[in-house]
Symmetry: C2
Amino acid sequence: MRRAVYAYLERSGKRLRPAVLLFSCGAVGGDEAKAIPAAAGVELFHTWTLVHDDLIDHDDTRRGGPSIHAMGRGLAETELGLGSEQAVDYGGTLSILAGDVQQGWTVCLFAELASRGVPAEVVLSLITRLESHVINAVIGGELLDVQYSRTPIDRLDEAAVLEMLRLKTGSLLEFAAMAGAMIGLGTGDVTHPTVEAIGRFALHCGTAFQLQDDLLGLLGDERTLGKPVGSDIREGKRTTLICYAFGRATPVQRRFLSGVLGNPRAGDADVAKAVDLLESVGAVRHTRDLAKGHIDQAIPCLERLAASESKELLLAWAEFMIRRQV
Amino acid sequence: MRRAVYAYLERSGKRLRPAVLLFSCGAVGGDEAKAIPAAAGVELFHTWTLVHDDLIDHDDTRRGGPSIHAMGRGLAETELGLGSEQAVDYGGTLSILAGDVQQGWTVCLFAELASRGVPAEVVLSLITRLESHVINAVIGGELLDVQYSRTPIDRLDEAAVLEMLRLKTGSLLEFAAMAGAMIGLGTGDVTHPTVEAIGRFALHCGTAFQLQDDLLGLLGDERTLGKPVGSDIREGKRTTLICYAFGRATPVQRRFLSGVLGNPRAGDADVAKAVDLLESVGAVRHTRDLAKGHIDQAIPCLERLAASESKELLLAWAEFMIRRQV
């Protein structure tokens, strides 16, 4: 269990959420050292949602290693000598329980803020926001993701996909930035104008991040990403790329795409052809423009903040969303 | 999702945890009204652990209705028209995510105590205790339960089974009683002598409760229990009854028990014969004595409390543990 709880944390990740939290705290003039347990907390929150999502989505790799359920399944086979069906079960059990423990630990990290001098009402406001609003959004997004993956592509539109991204990825980044600002300002008020503005900034960045993720899932490098390229195609992942392409493709192209998307047995040649098709109909350009547009909307949200090193870091963080290749 | 989150709560349960929390608050002279969000919180904590455990243990019924994963599987088949494998998957997803939302909601209920006048440091102490110590104990117990169910019975002893019960059931009851006392006394100190004593009381009662549960799982009435009698036998549940019987049975009896325990296809006649065997070797009497012994140890823990109606309710609650038939 200990190995399962720590595994994802010991692998290198991008640490986007701790970064935006600490930069936001600094950008409002706060003491970043006070916010460190919250920075660890948002990373751990993200981690437990990954652990459960990987089980739900049957993803066997994460951050260049086995996902928790795959790790548990392997242990069950090699160390406990269980048969294949029982080993799958054991992996699932380990993943469910490890995620549950991590969710609890997340809350404890936030509670620890009080011992660093963050006022108790700020701490309780953060915990309540995270464990109600944020959890409902993230899990609502994951549920939409699961439902959309079973909805015919021609019945999904871009707005639905963007809403799913906002919930699944944007809402935690929004919270991370708000939490940093709230700790920095010493307020428990989630409607404080600076808190709201910095939250909106991170929400736009989150959407851009996820759009870039979809682009990298199509065009990126397997070794640097730590997950197989083309898996988004074989899984039939519903992205703005796919929505756009379906809207523009000829009937013949649509029929081809329908045969490859969500087909785990699709050959490499067909996957490569699908990627080419998405580029040739302009879907790649469209999604790049969408991502750029969100960063363009994010940046003015920081206008009210005085110039500072932390503000510069926030701006660089925003640019990273659409420049990154990992 | 809403239906999944509320389903167990809308069915009648014993509400043991809220009861001991409120009685404990009253018994130390506190205002029970202040403690109501915590009472709801411990029930909801128990509920999310049941939702995840039912998935892990493949239990399709709970409190006289379908468990969440079984409910989701049914919905997926009838309303979404999914095939059987996909429907199982959908049920699992719903159960994982519903439990996660409930865990978050649990924490929010505790955070709400602050608005009822419970000091913030008491609230943070309760949240930290619940989300670290208690979660680790409950989940450690569930993991032992899963591991023991795959361990040959002759390699398990009674002490191991009792330790599993202490973790899986006792630790949350202990917390509920401690939380009531802490709210009543207005202290965040989990080592306060009254808090410790009342926690010990509930821990003993929890073990007695679980022993009685094992007795009812063997001898109880399916209609009042809301789960099939004999399922403990077919599942091969590791109980003190089984440990005791294995220690006393003849080689022939052991061979018979080994063929029935954990055999989902065991016939009704063989299950009934196994029950008779557990009675005839004295296992039923032994487990009854164990349960009674824990109640006898629980009661003196309340000595330091002044006489009150709440104290009487705590004593009646303790007696209920071993008198109950549901």
